[in-house]
Structure formats: structure tokens, C-alpha cells
Amino acid sequence: MSQPTEEELKNMSPEQIAELQKQNCLFCKIVAGEVPSKKVYEDEHFLGVLDIYPANEGHVLLMPKKHLQVMPQMPGELVGAFAVACKKVSEKLIGALQAQGTSVFIANGLHAGQKAPHFMAHVIPRNDGDSVGLAPGMKELSEKDLAEVKSKLTGGANAKETPSKKEGGKNGEKSNEGKADLDAVSKLFG
């Protein structure tokens, strides 16, 4: 298949560009079996292969078989299935490789470190003293910043229902018990 010229690209619709991207996508070819890969997990919707440029041995790339670029494009039900697949791959890393822990890392967008145009999670086995990192330093956040984020996300001082409810989930609670919520949750952080 010949590549379109710059002129042709400019005149393409978003759908046509997306289709072109899919046809050129290395990971779609891996899913289709056109490009060889080291498969370690597969179910109806997802494929897990070993990264050939791994952070360490056993680094798995878990991807949807369908071409998607970033997680917000994934429908809710598929996101749910993806969660379970991530957990299964993590379990396998611990069981098969005796990993002491795992990192599950998702990058949406170039500035977040996304390297491929096909959405995926990195599930990486972790052991004491390995050099993988993925543990940035923590810092005190300013009151001003915290207030700004809270206000932008909740559109007001009161906590609202969790975002997953908007798909028609169970009822959220009002935040009149604000202090009780904080107490219960701060315990979770030791």
C-alpha cells in the first residue's frame, strides 16, 4: 500500500486519517499476527506480549485487540474488562517470575510518555533494588493549587458522586458527612 502524499493527507477526513493510522499501526499488526511477538496473555479483547525493549525481564505490554489510541476512547465496559486483564497479568508475573511486586503504568498522550499510537498498559515485574523507578518524589502541594483542582473537578465545595456513576451506576452520597468521610479515608493512608 503506497503512502498518501502530504496534499492527500491534508484533504483527509479524521475518519480516513484514523483508518490510515490503524493500517500503519505496528501493534495492530502484532494483534493480527502479521508481525511476530512473544505472547504471554490473551483473552477475547486483549493481548499481552513481552516488550522487546523492556524495563526488566517480564515487562508485558497489555493492549486492546481493537485499535484505540488513548484510554478515554475505551467504552466503560471494555475499561472494566481491561482492569481484570491487568490484574491477571500482574498475578502471572508474580506467579511465573516470582516478582515481589508489579507496576501498572498507562500513558495517555505524548507528554505523558506514550510511545506508540496504540493504547496499552505496561505491566512490569518489580523487585527490591531494581532500577525501574516509577516512584516520583512527593511534595507538599499548595493550598491554592489544591483548592483550584478541587473546585474545577467538583464545581463547588461539596463532594459529588464519583464519575463512574454518570454511566448509570449506583447512587452517590452527599458530602454532608464530610468530616466522617475524611476520617475514614485518612486512616487508609496511615
Partner: protein, 161 residues
């Protein structure tokens, strides 16, 4: 400042931590206490990922960040800073200086194949365990049938001169 709960329902909560990686760092927790990813029931985990996904989109829209990360630090070697299981959501911007990357080295074919074998062996062991458990369950459910068969057999043997 204290950590704040900014969203909550009967199963999960969204925390705005007072100490975090960056402004806009959010943490999703289940209200029940689970230590690691493998402890979390599927339904709860699904809900957490769905919330994480929506929050990532919300950060994108409200903070104007140009990317987002979702990070689970599963276990101390992975940097788990909460005693309990949680999912981190992190807004990203160009040149924000946040270190969320790793050094890569090209893996050799032999090592990759060895790893695939380890996965396959592990899967095989799991299937065998499941099979044994299933068989055991079947045996426990049908003792009478076996007893009848045994009696018939022993009677047949007795008849042999």
C-alpha cells in the same frame, strides 16, 4: 493541609492528597481495605479503573493538561506509598520535569523465550490445579453413584469361581 475526599460512593472514593507528585495528582481508593492489586475483587477494580478513566478525561478538560498517567504501585518494590491498594492519576504537561519513565535495554531472544516458557509453565500448573479441584468437587458431589458402582463390581468379583 489534610488529604481531602472529593468524591465518594458506597464502594470507592477519590482523594485529593495534600502531598503528591504534582498539582492535580488524584488517588482512587476502595473503601474496603485491600493491600495489593491481587486482593481487590474484580467488580471493585473495574469500578476504580472506570472512575480513573473518567477522572483522567476530567483533568484533561478542566486543568488543560496535555496528557495523563495512570499508575498502580503494587507492592513496596514498586514504590507503593500507601499501606493499602490505590490508583494514582497524574496530569502531564510538556517538559513538566516529572520522572515517570525507565531505561530500556534490548532484550535478547533467548531471555524472551525463557520468559515465555515460565509463563506457559505457570499457566499449565494453574490449569492442573483447577482440574484437580474440579475433579475433587465432582467426587464430593456424587458419592452414592460411586458406591453403587463399587458394590456391583465387588459382587461381580465375588461371583468369579
Amino acid at each position: 493541609m489534610d488529604d481531602q475526599v472529593i468524591m465518594k460512593d458506597e464502594e470507592i472514593a477519590v482523594i485529593l492528597p495534600a502531598r503528591g507528585f504534582v498539582k492535580g495528582h488524584l488517588i482512587i481508593v476502595p473503601l474496603k481495605e485491600y493491600v495489593i492489586l491481587e486482593d481487590v475483587p474484580d467488580n471493585t477494580l473495574m469500578k476504580m479503573f472506570q472512575a480513573a478513566n473518567k477522572l483522567s478525561a476530567a483533568l484533561f478538560e478542566t486543568l488543560g493538561c496535555t496528557g495523563t498517567n495512570m499508575l498502580v504501585q503494587n507492592g513496596a518494590p514498586a514504590g507503593q506509598f500507601n499501606k493499602l491498594f490505590s490508583i494514582n492519576i497524574i496530569p502531564r504537561y510538556e517538559n513538566d520535569g516529572l520522572k515517570l519513565e525507565w531505561e530500556t535495554k534490548q532484550a535478547d531472544e533467548e531471555t524472551l523465550n525463557k520468559t515465555v516458557s515460565l509463563f506457559q509453565e505457570h499457566d499449565k500448573t494453574l490449569r492442573e490445579k483447577e482440574y484437580v479441584a474440579e475433579q475433587k468437587k465432582k467426587t464430593e458431589e456424587k458419592p452414592d453413584e460411586e458406591e453403587v458402582e463399587e458394590n456391583y463390581l465387588s459382587k461381580s468379583i465375588e461371583r468369579i469361581p
